[in-house]
C-alpha cells in the first residue's frame, strides 16, 4: 500500500502549498487551519457566519449574518434586519449587499471566549 498511484509513480507526501493569491477565502473545513492565510484573511475567516452590525451613511443600522466581502469592503449580510432607529421594530430584508462606500462602522457580536457556540 505504499505505492498509491496506478501509474507506478511514487507519490511524494508533499508539503501543503496553497496557491497564491487566494481567489476565495472561506470558513469551509478544509481551509480552517490553513497556515498560509494572511492575518487579515484569517480575521475575516473567523468573522464569517457571525452576526455583524453595520451603520450606514444615512444612519440606518443593519444587523445580519456576515456572508461575504471583498477588497472594497462591500459586505453581504443574510437574514438582515433594518433599523431606522435601533430598538424600534425592524424591517426584515433577507439578503442585502452593503456597498463599502456607505459603511460608517461595523461591529461584530463577539462571543465570550469561554463559551463555544456549539454549547448553546
Amino acid at each position: 500500500m505504499t505505492d498509491l498511484s496506478i501509474t507506478g509513480q511514487q507519490v511524494q507526501a508533499q508539503q501543503f502549498i496553497p496557491t497564491e493569491p487566494f481567489r476565495i477565502t472561506t470558513n469551509a473545513p478544509h481551509q480552517m487551519n490553513d497556515v498560509s492565510l494572511t492575518p487579515g484573511r484569517k480575521k475575516l475567516q473567523k468573522w464569517l457566519g457571525r452576526v455583524l452590525r453595520i451603520v450606514i451613511t444615512d444612519g440606518r443600522v443593519l444587523i445580519g449574518f456576515f456572508n461575504c466581502t471583498d477588497r472594497d469592503a462591500n459586505i453581504v449580510l443574510s437574514m438582515c434586519a433594518e433599523y431606522l432607529v435601533e430598538g424600534q421594530e425592524p424591517r426584515l430584508l433577507g439578503n442585502v449587499m452593503v456597498p463599502g462606500k456607505h459603511i460608517v462602522s461595523c461591529c461584530i457580536d463577539e462571543p465570550d471566549p469561554q463559551s463555544s457556540l456549539l454549547v448553546q
Binding site: 493569491p21 478544509h30 487551519n33 457566519g49 463577539e110
Partner: protein
Amino acid sequence: MNGSSVVEPPDFQAATAAAAAAARASSSEQDEWSASECGFLDPEVQRVMRSGSAAEDITQYPMHGWVDVTKEFHDACAELQPGELAQDMLFGLFEAMSAIEIMDPKMDVGMGFDKQDLPPPSFEAAIAMGAIKLDDLTPSELIGIFDALFSCIVSWLEGNSMDQVLFTCLYLHAPSKIKDKALRVFCTAVRNLIVVIKNIIAGAAVNEEEDFQLYGNSALLGAEKAQPATIFGSLKEVEDELVRKSKQLAAPEDWMAVVHRLRFMRHLFQVIYQVEQMANIESSEETMNEIYKNLNVASELLPLIRRTLDRGTQPEKGSEAPNPMGFSPRIHDRSQPPAFPRSIKIRDRPASYQFLEEMVTRFKYACKVIRHKDYYSALNFFIEYSKKSGQCILSRSVLQSLFSANIRVAHGKQPMKQFLRHSVQIFNSPPVLNTKHPVAADPKVQQHLENFFRYCINMNTFTQFIRICGFNRARQRDKLARLIENFDTIQVDAARLDSLMNQLANEKAMEGNEPLSTALKHSTHFSTWVLYNCFRAMFIFLMSGFELELYAVHEFLYIYWYPYEFLVGFLVSALTRTENILLAQEEYAEHQSKIQSNSGSGGAAKNRKAAKPKKNKKQQRPYRAEIVFYHALLSLCGGMYKAMGALTKDGRVRLPLSKFDNEEIRYNRRFLPFATLTSPPPVSYVEFKNIRDHMMRPSAEELYSYAAKHFDQARNVLESIQNPDQEMLDLLQIARTNFVVMNVLARGHQKEVKRQPEFDFSKHNYFPIIKLK
C-alpha cells in the same frame, strides 16, 4: 473541494495524497484558532445552527455584545486581491443574486428615511392631523385628486403594485367615510374599477408577472364591498347635481371640469364592467354596441379634460405625492415584502391622460373583433392587434374577453367546435361540411368530422394560438415553440380524415353513385387548413427572434434562409391550393346549376341570378392579397439571405472565434421546435450546409447583385399593391434602400473596408435596412 487550495494536482491520486498529507500536517500543529471559534466543520451543523430557533431571529442579537471592528475590518479587506472574495461556506450564487443593494435608489426602499420623520400618515391619522378634508372640497381640489387618481390607475396598469400607487391615496382606504359626495362616489368607483379590472385580467389570463401585479393589499379592498352594478347610477346622480349647481354660478367652468371627469369615469367604468359581464350575456352584438357607444363618449370627453388639467391642484415640486392632499406616498413601503422594494414613479397627468386616450382607442379597435366570424380572419386580427396594442395588459385582456369568455366558446355563446367547423368551411369549403350536400347526413361521415373537431378542441391548439397572441410580445416566442410541437398530432389526424374522405369517395364511385362520389371528391382540405396555421405559427416564431434581438448577425443567414427556401413558399402554396380548390368547386357548382336550369324550372332563373354576383366575388380570389404579400416577404427573405451570404464571403460579418463556435449546435437550437414535426420535415444542418455552400460559390460581387435582384423583386411586388398599409410602405422603403446598398457593394464600393454594416430594424421588426458605416 480541495481544488482551490492545492497546486494543480497531476492526477486524482496525487490530490488525495496531498490532501491527506495536508490533514496530517495541520492536525499535528497547534491550532491558532480553535475549531469552535472559527465556525463549524460540519456544514450540517452549520445549517442547523443558522436556522435553529435561537439563531433564526436576528433581532435577538447581540448575544454577547457589539465590539467595534471598523478599522480592523477595513484593514483586513485591504489585504484581499481585487476580485478576491472572503465568503461564508454556505454563500453561493443564489444568495449573491438575491441580495438587495443598500442605498440603490431602485432597490432600497428604506433609503431617504430621516430618523426625525414621522411615520407616513394613515387615513385616520391624516384626518386627525387635519391633513385631508372630507367635506366641502373646492373644484380645484377635486380635479387635483381625480387627475392624480387617474395617474395612479395608469401606473398600476403599467405593472406597479396596487399598494404602492393606488393605495397611497388615503381616500381609497375608506371611501364611505368621505362626506363630499362627488369625491365619495368617485373613490368608490375607483375601488370597484380595481376589482373589475382584476377580474378581467385574471379571467383572460394573458398576463405575466412583468405585466401586472395581480395581488395587492386585499385587506384594504375587502373593507368595503364592491358593488359594480350601482356605480353607473350613482356617478350619474352626482353629475346631475353638480350640473344643476353650476347653472346657478357665474363661472361654472371649474365645476364643469369636475363633471367631465366624473362622466369620463362613468363611461370608462361602464365599458370595463360590460366587458367583464360578457360571459353572462346572451347577445354579444348588443352589448358590443353599447360598449362602443360608451367608448365614443369617453373619447369625446378626454380633450375637454386635458384642456382643464391646470384647473386642479398640482403636485408639489420635489414631492413624491401625485397631489398635495390625500396621498401618503410611503404608506405601504415598509409593509412590502423585502424582495419588492422599488421606488415608484407615478406617471404625470398629461402622460396618464395620453395613455387613457390611447387605451380607449385600443378598446374601440378591439370591439372590431366581432366582425371576424371565422378562425382565419380572427387570427389575423389578433396578430395585428398584438403588433399594435401589445404593450397594454388591459387592452390585451379586454380583447380576449370580447372574443371568448372562456376557452370553450367564441363570440358570446358559440361553441368553439362550431366556430372551428364554420372556419374550415369559410377557409377552403370542404364539400362534406356543406349541409346541402347529399353526404352531409351520412352518419359515418358525420362521426369522423365530429371526432376530428372534438380532437382539435381537446388539443386546444387552435384556441391556444389565439390566446398566445394576447401575451406580451416577449413571452409569445416560448409559447409558440410549444404550440408548434402540438400541431404535429393534429396534422396526423387531419391527414387521416382527408384520406378517409377520399376513400369514401372512391367507394361511392365503385358503387356507381356518381353524384355522391363527386360531392366527396376531396382534396387535402383539412390538412391544408391545419398546415397553414402551423406554418403561420412557425413563421411568427422564427421572425420574432429579430424583434426580440435574440439573433447574432452571423446567424441571420440561416434564419432568413429557412423562410426563403421553405416556409413562405409553403404558405403561398397552401393558400394557392386553397384558392384553386375554391375555384374548382365554384365551377363545379356552376356546372351543376346549369344542368339544373337546363332541366327547366321557374326557380332556376332566380338561382342563376343569385349565383352570378357570388361568382364575381370569388373571382377576386379571397387570398390574393395575402399571397402577393407573402411573395414580397419571400423576396425580402431571399434578399437578406443572399446579402448575408455575400457579406460573409466578403469578410464583412464578424464571426465567432472558432474555438467557441459550433454552428451546428446553434442551428439546431434555433430550429428546435420544428424538429418534432413530421410536416414540414425538419431540415438537417448538413442539408443546410450543402445548400449554403452551393449558394456561396459565386463571387461576393455576384452574390451582392443576386441579393439586389431579390430586393428589386420585392420592391416591384410591393409597388403593385393597391392601397398599401403602413407595414407595406415600410417594407417597400427597406427593399428600395437595400437594393441600392447591394448594388453599391456589387460595384466594389469600399472594397478594402471590411466593416460589418449596421442592421437597422427600426422600420420593421423582421427586416433591417442594411447601412454601410
